[in-house]
Symmetry: C2
Subunit: 440 residues, 2 copies
Amino acid sequence: MKRILVLGAGRTLPSLINYLATRADEMSWEVRVADISLQQVLQKIEGYSNVSASEFDIQLPEQREKEIVAADLVISLLPVRFHILAAKTCLKFKKHLLTASYVSDEMKAMDQQAKKNGVLLLNECGLDPGIDHMTAMAALDKIREEKGGSVDTFISYTGGLISPETDNNPWHYKFTWNPRNVVLAGKETAQFIRKGRYKYIPYHRVFTRLEPVHIEGYGDFQGYANRDSLKYRELYGLQNVETIMRSTLRRPGFCEAWNILVQLGITDDSYTLVGLDGLTYRDFINTFLYFHPTKSVEDKLCEYLKLDRHGEIMQKLIWLGIFEKTSIEMDKASPAMVLQKLLEQKWKLEPNDRDMIVMQHQIGYSMDNQYKKFKTSLVVIGDDIQHTAMSKTVGWPLAIAAKLILTGAINDTGVKVPVTPRYYQPIIKELETLGVKFIE
Amino acid sequence: MKRILVLGAGRTLPSLINYLATRADEMSWEVRVADISLQQVLQKIEGYSNVSASEFDIQLPEQREKEIVAADLVISLLPVRFHILAAKTCLKFKKHLLTASYVSDEMKAMDQQAKKNGVLLLNECGLDPGIDHMTAMAALDKIREEKGGSVDTFISYTGGLISPETDNNPWHYKFTWNPRNVVLAGKETAQFIRKGRYKYIPYHRVFTRLEPVHIEGYGDFQGYANRDSLKYRELYGLQNVETIMRSTLRRPGFCEAWNILVQLGITDDSYTLVGLDGLTYRDFINTFLYFHPTKSVEDKLCEYLKLDRHGEIMQKLIWLGIFEKTSIEMDKASPAMVLQKLLEQKWKLEPNDRDMIVMQHQIGYSMDNQYKKFKTSLVVIGDDIQHTAMSKTVGWPLAIAAKLILTGAINDTGVKVPVTPRYYQPIIKELETLGVKFIE
């Protein structure tokens, strides 16, 4: 028997645990889920008789060591800041660790020690980062190695959205990821290369520089530049690429309306509002507008940001409830926290909702004196609000990697990211059998 | 003989040293100036036979202690971050310290120790902060105490500009303060109260929310909200004020054009540009614009930010040289650093230039069932590019305070700011004799 320890019982768990539990007997796995809330674990593992639960606080060394020492492989679904604690303990007891988060500098620094101890610390093995890396590298390697092509353009789009059948609000958006991350999305200056030229977009302009994307059978989307795309040159072996850009997808109309919230300054998380007590959402919006003795908040906003009073952007803002005289009921909060509270009510997934993951890679390359374009797209729809597309696409790559490691199909050490064929080939292959399949 | 030690031989020194040197024999003062560059000290004290020079590094404890132990009073004109080192040594040897900088939290924490040691650490005793506090408090105290008025509005404007006779560029602006601070001005969210309502303006909107100001004999200005005005409520005893706002003044047209630089993102100091080597200013601007195969940088900018190709804003931008094919010649720099380099060439004070300080307080109050308005303005013109209006209005309040302390007219201890009559009355009175006089 090999024991797989899963840390964290959040949104990603359901599909991961389903994969592991349904294969546990056959594979001789013991599966255990540990979280700070035992109740949450029990709720999420209900129906799986072969999965055990543990109440545990990663920050308490005794509890952390007790769980990790008894495992053969650890999967951390905890918030990013806790991965390092898990990694240190995994190094100590020579256990492999898998995460779906970006490699932090602290994690990177453990590479030598991990190699010395025979431990694999595999990161960025979820959706984004994860499936994006694996499918990009599979496509790039095929073009470069099999076809001998020379890649000059790499553009990649990813979006976590709502499935068309349950898309019933004017923003065409609901929260399927961490709401705080959605509210703060794009905060860094976007950096990319376009036709050989470095391009920088400051946060307050990101949602005005949009690219149209069409996905067969799923309609139109718009992409906005996603933070630092430059670092992907080295990771993907694209040092001399002419165009490289990673984007986030939304439905048309979303970004124009979201930009109004950015322009007002209410996505700001850097300071605490004074005098919030007793304010309504309408007062809150007024706080970011100039004073006028008689004009309405709506009229001031339209004048200030040059909006059509009866246009689609205003319709979206009105639907959100930002002009309503409803009390906020928060004492101390940043503007972003107030906005998040409102959005969590409006963009909540309903019991029958299904989410949708969309990803597209566009690659341009030269081969045999011809310029060619390659496009590959993925659409995954959630089964329900537990087994979301998000849960499947983040959880399954981790689960598959765990299987490959425990069966010895992958035998590696050090701090790694799944950008080499030994990882991406078997993981993509099995994801396809689970219905996560790119269409070229 | 009492020794006054002045730390730092920067822009503020000339008027301060002139005040001290011309009174030194009469007052029995020894005046000494210490700076990391002996040459700079010698240049600035040329012609004053009774001022001594010292080469010294505040960061070296031995040099710091040697200079401070021999002084009776220390005036620090050093960059803000060094005041704490001076203050600690002053506490140790029981010497008074004067600065023109905001009280830091670290400085504030020394209050008890300063009182115990009989030491005065007087801060915010320059122009802004300094003269602004003193003249605001003089006006407010007069309204409240002498007239029994109840203040509901306090608005204060300050600008460091160029004198009308030497104002010969389309921005009507040259650098008379630290260029880096000018480039990064307004970076915090502006916070103030207007008619009883809290108002917040994010950085990327600050230069679009302008207030017109007229000063008799000096024409029109525009004010933009200056950072956190809320904290002045407590300092000025205005806890229940309906309107409080501090603004920075520029000539009309400046802010609209500056806003374009903000919108592009080139006032950002938070990251280092990649691929700067070999770029021209034109390339640099293009880096912040979308890609287009044929359109010119000028046309793209006008389209992107909705500018009139032949309007005044474009005239200002063209004059700055941002479209020129001149090499930047910087390797590693933030966008703000590149912009600063360009501006330092264009907004440089010429030998015959004279700077100008403008300040205006507007106070609204009720008295005897009547609502009254009070307005008081200051304009100071520099004598030349050494004895600038800036040097006079920052240096003289410090010099006068030093005299008051050394003659025993002010006898105080602890960490203080000159907002009480014992400070502002004699300092304002003497500033008036020097030509720094508010007109009501």
